[in-house]
Protein backbone atom coordinates (compact mmCIF):
# COMPACT_ATOMS: atom_id res chain seq x y z
CA UNK A 1 0.00 0.00 0.00
CA UNK A 2 1.11 3.54 -0.79
CA UNK A 3 1.11 6.32 1.81
CA UNK A 4 2.43 9.85 2.02
CA UNK A 5 6.09 9.53 0.92
CA UNK A 6 6.13 5.99 2.27
CA UNK A 7 4.86 2.50 1.54
CA UNK A 8 4.00 -0.61 3.48
CA UNK A 9 4.28 -4.23 2.40
CA UNK A 10 2.78 -7.08 4.41
CA UNK A 11 2.51 -10.84 4.22
CA UNK A 12 1.23 -13.73 6.27
CA UNK A 13 3.68 -16.22 7.85
CA UNK A 14 2.37 -19.65 6.97
CA UNK A 15 4.35 -22.33 5.18
CA UNK A 16 2.03 -25.18 4.33
CA UNK A 17 1.68 -28.24 2.15
CA UNK A 18 -2.00 -28.29 1.20
CA UNK A 19 -3.80 -28.87 4.48
CA UNK A 20 -0.74 -29.36 6.69
CA UNK A 21 1.03 -26.35 8.23
CA UNK A 22 4.80 -26.87 8.28
CA UNK A 23 5.96 -23.56 9.75
CA UNK A 24 4.51 -20.36 11.15
CA UNK A 25 7.54 -18.13 10.66
CA UNK A 26 8.15 -18.40 6.94
CA UNK A 27 9.51 -15.25 5.38
CA UNK A 28 7.84 -14.12 2.17
CA UNK A 29 9.02 -10.50 1.97
CA UNK A 30 12.63 -9.99 0.97
CA UNK A 31 14.74 -6.84 0.93
CA UNK A 32 16.52 -6.13 -2.31
CA UNK A 33 17.97 -2.83 -1.12
CA UNK A 34 17.13 -0.23 1.52
CA UNK A 35 14.27 1.21 -0.52
CA UNK A 36 13.07 -1.85 -2.46
CA UNK A 37 11.19 -4.87 -1.19
CA UNK A 38 9.65 -7.81 -2.96
CA UNK A 39 7.02 -10.14 -1.56
CA UNK A 40 6.69 -13.54 -3.21
CA UNK A 41 3.52 -15.55 -2.71
CA UNK A 42 2.81 -18.95 -4.20
CA UNK A 43 5.01 -22.05 -4.33
CA UNK A 44 7.74 -21.77 -1.69
CA UNK A 45 10.42 -23.47 -3.74
CA UNK A 46 9.89 -21.14 -6.71
CA UNK A 47 9.80 -18.12 -4.39
CA UNK A 48 13.17 -19.13 -2.96
CA UNK A 49 14.69 -19.85 -6.38
CA UNK A 50 13.33 -16.63 -7.86
CA UNK A 51 14.59 -14.59 -4.91
CA UNK A 52 18.07 -16.06 -5.26
CA UNK A 53 18.12 -15.24 -8.99
CA UNK A 54 16.90 -11.68 -8.35
CA UNK A 55 19.51 -11.02 -5.66
CA UNK A 56 22.15 -12.31 -8.05
CA UNK A 57 20.97 -10.01 -10.84
CA UNK A 58 20.70 -7.01 -8.55
CA UNK A 59 24.19 -7.52 -7.10
CA UNK A 60 25.62 -7.66 -10.62
CA UNK A 61 23.69 -4.51 -11.52
CA UNK A 62 25.07 -2.77 -8.41
CA UNK A 63 28.61 -3.74 -9.36
CA UNK A 64 28.23 -2.47 -12.92
CA UNK A 65 26.11 0.65 -12.36
CA UNK A 66 27.48 1.55 -8.89
CA UNK A 67 23.99 2.34 -7.66
CA UNK A 68 20.82 0.57 -6.56
CA UNK A 69 18.17 -0.43 -9.06
CA UNK A 70 15.13 1.77 -9.37
CA UNK A 71 11.87 0.00 -8.48
CA UNK A 72 10.48 0.48 -12.00
CA UNK A 73 13.58 -1.13 -13.49
CA UNK A 74 13.45 -3.97 -10.96
CA UNK A 75 9.80 -4.62 -11.80
CA UNK A 76 10.75 -4.94 -15.47
CA UNK A 77 13.54 -7.33 -14.52
CA UNK A 78 11.16 -9.53 -12.53
CA UNK A 79 8.66 -9.48 -15.37
CA UNK A 80 11.35 -10.53 -17.85
CA UNK A 81 12.60 -13.35 -15.63
CA UNK A 82 9.08 -14.68 -15.21
CA UNK A 83 8.22 -14.50 -18.90
CA UNK A 84 11.44 -16.34 -19.79
CA UNK A 85 9.71 -19.36 -18.24
CA UNK A 86 6.47 -18.76 -20.12
CA UNK A 87 5.92 -22.46 -20.92
CA UNK A 88 7.21 -23.82 -17.62
CA UNK A 89 6.52 -20.96 -15.22
CA UNK A 90 7.57 -20.16 -11.68
CA UNK A 91 4.41 -20.55 -9.61
CA UNK A 92 4.85 -17.23 -7.81
CA UNK A 93 2.98 -13.97 -7.73
CA UNK A 94 5.34 -11.15 -6.77
CA UNK A 95 4.41 -7.88 -5.09
CA UNK A 96 7.08 -5.21 -5.55
CA UNK A 97 7.23 -2.05 -3.48
CA UNK A 98 9.91 0.62 -3.47
CA UNK A 99 10.79 4.29 -3.24
CA UNK A 100 11.86 5.60 -6.63
CA UNK A 101 13.26 8.94 -7.77
CA UNK A 102 12.72 11.67 -5.17
CA UNK A 103 11.43 8.96 -2.84
CA UNK A 104 8.16 8.62 -4.71
CA UNK A 105 6.48 5.34 -3.66
CA UNK A 106 6.14 2.69 -6.38
CA UNK A 107 4.13 -0.50 -6.12
CA UNK A 108 3.22 -3.18 -8.61
CA UNK A 109 2.18 -6.81 -8.77
CA UNK A 110 2.45 -9.47 -11.46
CA UNK A 111 0.91 -12.77 -12.34
CA UNK A 112 3.13 -15.84 -12.55
CA UNK A 113 4.17 -15.15 -16.14
CA UNK A 114 5.13 -11.52 -15.59
CA UNK A 115 2.12 -9.42 -16.55
CA UNK A 116 2.76 -6.19 -14.65
CA UNK A 117 -0.06 -4.42 -12.89
CA UNK A 118 0.85 -0.95 -11.68
CA UNK A 119 -1.36 0.83 -9.19
CA UNK A 120 -1.34 4.11 -7.33
CA UNK A 121 -3.00 2.85 -4.14
CA UNK A 122 -2.54 -0.83 -3.35
CA UNK A 123 -1.68 -4.18 -4.91
CA UNK A 124 -2.39 -7.69 -3.63
CA UNK A 125 -1.40 -11.27 -4.41
CA UNK A 126 -1.88 -14.76 -3.05
CA UNK A 127 -4.62 -17.25 -2.23
CA UNK A 128 -6.56 -14.61 -0.29
CA UNK A 129 -6.23 -11.99 -3.02
CA UNK A 130 -9.97 -11.55 -3.57
CA UNK A 131 -10.54 -10.89 0.12
CA UNK A 132 -7.54 -8.58 0.12
CA UNK A 133 -8.92 -6.54 -2.79
CA UNK A 134 -12.14 -6.04 -0.89
CA UNK A 135 -10.51 -5.18 2.41
CA UNK A 136 -7.97 -2.79 0.90
CA UNK A 137 -10.56 -1.05 -1.28
CA UNK A 138 -12.72 -0.28 1.71
CA UNK A 139 -9.96 0.61 4.17
CA UNK A 140 -7.59 2.56 1.92
CA UNK A 141 -7.30 6.34 2.01
CA UNK A 142 -4.75 8.31 -0.01
CA UNK A 143 -1.80 10.07 1.66
CA UNK A 144 -1.75 8.24 4.97
CA UNK A 145 1.14 8.82 7.36
CA UNK A 146 3.33 5.80 8.21
CA UNK A 147 1.61 5.01 11.52
CA UNK A 148 -1.88 5.12 10.04
CA UNK A 149 -0.69 3.20 6.98
CA UNK A 150 0.65 0.46 9.26
CA UNK A 151 -2.70 0.18 11.04
CA UNK A 152 -4.63 0.08 7.79
CA UNK A 153 -2.50 -2.51 6.05
CA UNK A 154 -2.41 -4.70 9.16
CA UNK A 155 -6.19 -4.68 9.54
CA UNK A 156 -6.67 -5.37 5.84
CA UNK A 157 -4.21 -8.29 5.96
CA UNK A 158 -5.56 -9.92 9.11
CA UNK A 159 -9.21 -9.65 8.15
CA UNK A 160 -8.53 -11.12 4.69
CA UNK A 161 -6.36 -14.05 5.78
CA UNK A 162 -8.89 -14.98 8.45
CA UNK A 163 -11.26 -15.86 5.62
CA UNK A 164 -8.70 -18.06 3.88
CA UNK A 165 -7.75 -21.44 5.31
CA UNK A 166 -4.40 -21.49 3.49
CA UNK A 167 -3.19 -18.12 4.79
CA UNK A 168 -2.58 -16.77 8.23
CA UNK A 169 -0.63 -17.71 11.36
CA UNK A 170 0.34 -14.10 11.95
CA UNK A 171 1.52 -11.24 9.82
CA UNK A 172 4.77 -9.57 8.87
CA UNK A 173 4.62 -5.85 8.02
CA UNK A 174 7.37 -3.57 6.73
CA UNK A 175 6.72 0.21 6.67
CA UNK A 176 9.34 2.05 4.64
CA UNK A 177 9.95 5.80 4.66
CA UNK A 178 12.88 7.64 3.06
CA UNK A 179 14.71 7.61 6.39
CA UNK A 180 13.85 4.31 8.06
CA UNK A 181 12.42 0.82 7.73
CA UNK A 182 10.14 -0.51 10.46
CA UNK A 183 9.51 -4.23 10.65
CA UNK A 184 6.68 -5.54 12.81
CA UNK A 185 5.20 -8.96 13.49
CA UNK A 186 1.42 -9.21 13.90
CA UNK A 187 -0.33 -11.73 16.05
CA UNK A 188 -3.60 -12.76 14.47
CA UNK A 189 -5.80 -15.83 14.66
CA UNK A 190 -3.29 -18.66 14.84
CA UNK A 191 -5.28 -21.14 12.85
Amino acid sequence: MVGKNCFAIASDRRLGVQLQTIATDFQKIYKIHEKLFIGLSGLATDAQTLYQRLVFRHKLYELREERDMKPETFASLVSALLYEKRFGPYFCQPVIAGLGDEDKPFICTMDSIGAKELAKDFVVAGTASESLYGACESMFKPDMEPEELFETISQALLSSVDRDCLSGWGGHVYVVTPTEVTERILKGRMD
Binding site: L15, V17, Q20, I22, A23, F26, L43, A44, T45, Q48, T49, G88
Partner: protein, 204 residues
Protein backbone atom coordinates in the same frame (compact mmCIF):
# COMPACT_ATOMS: atom_id res chain seq x y z
CA UNK B 1 4.50 -45.32 3.96
CA UNK B 2 7.79 -43.85 5.05
CA UNK B 3 8.09 -41.56 8.03
CA UNK B 4 10.99 -39.32 9.00
CA UNK B 5 10.95 -36.81 11.80
CA UNK B 6 13.43 -34.70 13.70
CA UNK B 7 13.69 -32.23 16.55
CA UNK B 8 16.20 -29.88 18.12
CA UNK B 9 17.09 -30.17 21.81
CA UNK B 10 19.27 -28.21 24.18
CA UNK B 11 22.59 -28.83 22.42
CA UNK B 12 21.77 -31.72 20.12
CA UNK B 13 19.45 -32.64 17.29
CA UNK B 14 17.71 -35.97 16.79
CA UNK B 15 16.44 -37.52 13.56
CA UNK B 16 14.36 -40.67 13.52
CA UNK B 17 13.19 -42.64 10.50
CA UNK B 18 11.34 -45.84 9.86
CA UNK B 19 13.44 -48.66 8.44
CA UNK B 20 11.17 -50.60 6.14
CA UNK B 21 12.03 -51.01 2.47
CA UNK B 22 8.74 -51.64 0.68
CA UNK B 23 7.88 -52.49 -2.92
CA UNK B 24 4.12 -52.42 -3.57
CA UNK B 25 2.70 -54.95 -1.07
CA UNK B 26 6.01 -56.65 -0.31
CA UNK B 27 8.35 -55.65 2.53
CA UNK B 28 11.86 -56.33 1.25
CA UNK B 29 13.62 -55.59 4.53
CA UNK B 30 12.88 -54.00 7.89
CA UNK B 31 16.32 -52.71 8.82
CA UNK B 32 17.02 -50.22 6.02
CA UNK B 33 19.02 -47.25 7.29
CA UNK B 34 17.48 -44.09 5.86
CA UNK B 35 19.51 -41.60 7.87
CA UNK B 36 22.79 -40.87 6.11
CA UNK B 37 25.69 -39.48 8.13
CA UNK B 38 27.07 -36.74 5.88
CA UNK B 39 30.16 -35.89 7.88
CA UNK B 40 31.31 -35.73 11.47
CA UNK B 41 28.55 -33.35 12.56
CA UNK B 42 25.74 -33.69 10.02
CA UNK B 43 22.88 -36.12 9.50
CA UNK B 44 20.42 -36.39 6.67
CA UNK B 45 17.21 -38.37 7.16
CA UNK B 46 15.45 -38.97 3.86
CA UNK B 47 12.15 -40.46 2.76
CA UNK B 48 10.61 -41.03 -0.64
CA UNK B 49 11.35 -43.01 -3.81
CA UNK B 50 13.84 -45.70 -2.80
CA UNK B 51 16.32 -45.35 -5.66
CA UNK B 52 16.25 -41.55 -5.58
CA UNK B 53 16.73 -41.59 -1.83
CA UNK B 54 19.76 -43.88 -1.87
CA UNK B 55 21.41 -42.15 -4.84
CA UNK B 56 20.68 -38.57 -3.87
CA UNK B 57 21.77 -38.88 -0.24
CA UNK B 58 25.01 -40.54 -1.31
CA UNK B 59 25.56 -37.78 -3.89
CA UNK B 60 25.15 -35.12 -1.22
CA UNK B 61 27.40 -37.01 1.19
CA UNK B 62 30.20 -37.21 -1.38
CA UNK B 63 29.86 -33.55 -2.33
CA UNK B 64 30.02 -32.49 1.32
CA UNK B 65 33.23 -34.53 1.64
CA UNK B 66 34.60 -33.01 -1.58
CA UNK B 67 34.10 -29.50 -0.25
CA UNK B 68 36.06 -30.40 2.85
CA UNK B 69 38.89 -31.92 0.80
CA UNK B 70 39.08 -28.92 -1.52
CA UNK B 71 38.77 -26.18 1.07
CA UNK B 72 40.17 -27.73 4.23
CA UNK B 73 37.17 -26.77 6.33
CA UNK B 74 33.76 -28.47 6.62
CA UNK B 75 30.52 -26.95 5.39
CA UNK B 76 28.17 -25.45 7.98
CA UNK B 77 24.77 -27.10 8.35
CA UNK B 78 23.06 -24.13 6.69
CA UNK B 79 25.46 -24.28 3.76
CA UNK B 80 24.93 -28.01 3.31
CA UNK B 81 21.16 -27.53 3.48
CA UNK B 82 21.27 -24.76 0.89
CA UNK B 83 23.50 -26.86 -1.36
CA UNK B 84 21.03 -29.74 -1.12
CA UNK B 85 18.14 -27.40 -1.91
CA UNK B 86 20.05 -26.09 -4.91
CA UNK B 87 20.59 -29.60 -6.27
CA UNK B 88 16.92 -30.47 -5.81
CA UNK B 89 15.79 -27.17 -7.37
CA UNK B 90 18.02 -27.60 -10.42
CA UNK B 91 16.75 -31.12 -11.00
CA UNK B 92 13.14 -30.15 -10.32
CA UNK B 93 12.18 -29.03 -13.80
CA UNK B 94 14.16 -31.72 -15.61
CA UNK B 95 14.28 -34.95 -13.65
CA UNK B 96 13.01 -34.41 -10.12
CA UNK B 97 14.28 -36.36 -7.15
CA UNK B 98 11.29 -37.57 -5.14
CA UNK B 99 13.11 -37.33 -1.81
CA UNK B 100 12.02 -35.46 1.32
CA UNK B 101 14.89 -34.56 3.62
CA UNK B 102 15.41 -33.57 7.22
CA UNK B 103 18.97 -32.38 7.66
CA UNK B 104 20.35 -32.04 11.18
CA UNK B 105 23.71 -30.64 12.17
CA UNK B 106 25.76 -29.19 14.96
CA UNK B 107 27.94 -26.12 14.37
CA UNK B 108 30.34 -24.96 17.05
CA UNK B 109 29.16 -21.35 17.22
CA UNK B 110 25.51 -21.85 16.25
CA UNK B 111 24.61 -25.04 18.06
CA UNK B 112 22.17 -27.65 16.79
CA UNK B 113 19.79 -27.01 13.89
CA UNK B 114 17.48 -28.91 11.61
CA UNK B 115 16.41 -28.03 8.09
CA UNK B 116 13.24 -29.20 6.38
CA UNK B 117 13.72 -29.71 2.62
CA UNK B 118 10.81 -31.19 0.74
CA UNK B 119 11.00 -32.92 -2.63
CA UNK B 120 10.23 -29.74 -4.58
CA UNK B 121 13.12 -27.96 -2.87
CA UNK B 122 11.33 -25.79 -0.33
CA UNK B 123 13.84 -25.08 2.44
CA UNK B 124 13.04 -23.96 5.97
CA UNK B 125 14.92 -24.00 9.25
CA UNK B 126 12.76 -25.48 11.99
CA UNK B 127 12.82 -26.80 15.55
CA UNK B 128 10.64 -29.78 14.73
CA UNK B 129 9.81 -31.37 11.40
CA UNK B 130 8.26 -34.52 9.98
CA UNK B 131 7.47 -36.17 6.63
CA UNK B 132 5.15 -38.90 5.47
CA UNK B 133 1.86 -40.19 6.83
CA UNK B 134 3.61 -40.45 10.17
CA UNK B 135 3.98 -36.67 10.14
CA UNK B 136 0.32 -36.23 11.05
CA UNK B 137 0.99 -38.02 14.32
CA UNK B 138 4.56 -36.81 14.83
CA UNK B 139 3.77 -33.10 14.41
CA UNK B 140 0.77 -33.28 16.69
CA UNK B 141 2.72 -35.11 19.40
CA UNK B 142 5.55 -32.62 19.08
CA UNK B 143 3.15 -29.65 19.20
CA UNK B 144 1.85 -31.05 22.48
CA UNK B 145 5.04 -32.24 24.19
CA UNK B 146 7.97 -30.40 22.61
CA UNK B 147 9.68 -27.63 24.55
CA UNK B 148 12.78 -25.68 23.69
CA UNK B 149 15.97 -26.91 25.38
CA UNK B 150 14.93 -30.47 26.15
CA UNK B 151 17.63 -32.81 27.42
CA UNK B 152 18.45 -36.03 25.57
CA UNK B 153 16.35 -38.26 27.81
CA UNK B 154 13.28 -36.06 27.43
CA UNK B 155 13.72 -35.86 23.66
CA UNK B 156 14.14 -39.64 23.31
CA UNK B 157 11.05 -40.07 25.45
CA UNK B 158 9.14 -37.84 23.02
CA UNK B 159 10.55 -39.76 20.04
CA UNK B 160 9.40 -43.02 21.64
CA UNK B 161 5.93 -41.57 22.24
CA UNK B 162 5.78 -40.60 18.55
CA UNK B 163 6.91 -44.06 17.44
CA UNK B 164 4.23 -45.63 19.68
CA UNK B 165 1.63 -43.35 18.16
CA UNK B 166 2.67 -44.18 14.59
CA UNK B 167 2.75 -47.91 15.34
CA UNK B 168 -0.69 -47.91 16.91
CA UNK B 169 -2.56 -45.44 14.71
CA UNK B 170 -1.17 -45.76 11.18
CA UNK B 171 -2.79 -48.53 9.14
CA UNK B 172 0.38 -49.73 7.36
CA UNK B 173 2.64 -48.79 10.22
CA UNK B 174 6.35 -49.49 9.83
CA UNK B 175 7.46 -51.85 12.62
CA UNK B 176 11.04 -50.68 13.08
CA UNK B 177 12.71 -47.29 13.51
CA UNK B 178 16.26 -46.00 13.67
CA UNK B 179 17.22 -42.98 15.77
CA UNK B 180 20.37 -40.93 15.19
CA UNK B 181 21.69 -38.00 17.17
CA UNK B 182 24.13 -35.18 16.44
CA UNK B 183 25.75 -33.03 19.11
CA UNK B 184 29.10 -31.46 19.88
CA UNK B 185 30.68 -34.91 19.99
CA UNK B 186 29.51 -35.72 16.48
CA UNK B 187 26.84 -37.55 14.54
CA UNK B 188 26.13 -41.13 15.48
CA UNK B 189 23.50 -43.81 15.65
CA UNK B 190 21.63 -43.61 18.93
CA UNK B 191 19.30 -46.61 18.92
CA UNK B 192 17.03 -48.90 16.96
CA UNK B 193 13.43 -49.46 17.98
CA UNK B 194 12.54 -52.87 16.61
CA UNK B 195 9.36 -54.82 16.95
CA UNK B 196 10.24 -57.23 14.12
CA UNK B 197 13.72 -58.63 13.65
CA UNK B 198 14.93 -59.69 10.19
CA UNK B 199 16.66 -63.06 9.90
CA UNK B 200 20.39 -62.33 10.07
CA UNK B 201 22.14 -62.35 6.68
CA UNK B 202 24.90 -65.03 6.62
CA UNK B 203 28.35 -63.50 6.15
CA UNK B 204 30.08 -64.20 2.82
Amino acid sequence: MESVFGLVGKDFAIVAADSSAVHSILVHKTNEDKIMILDSHKLMGASGETGDRAQFTEYIQKNVALYQFRNGIPLTTAAAANFTRGELATALRKNPYMVNIIMAGYDKDIGPSIYFIDYIASLHKLDKAAFGYGSYFALSMMDRHYRKDMIVEEAIDLVDKIIMEIRSRLVVAPPNFVIKIVDKDGAREYAWRESIKDAPVPGV
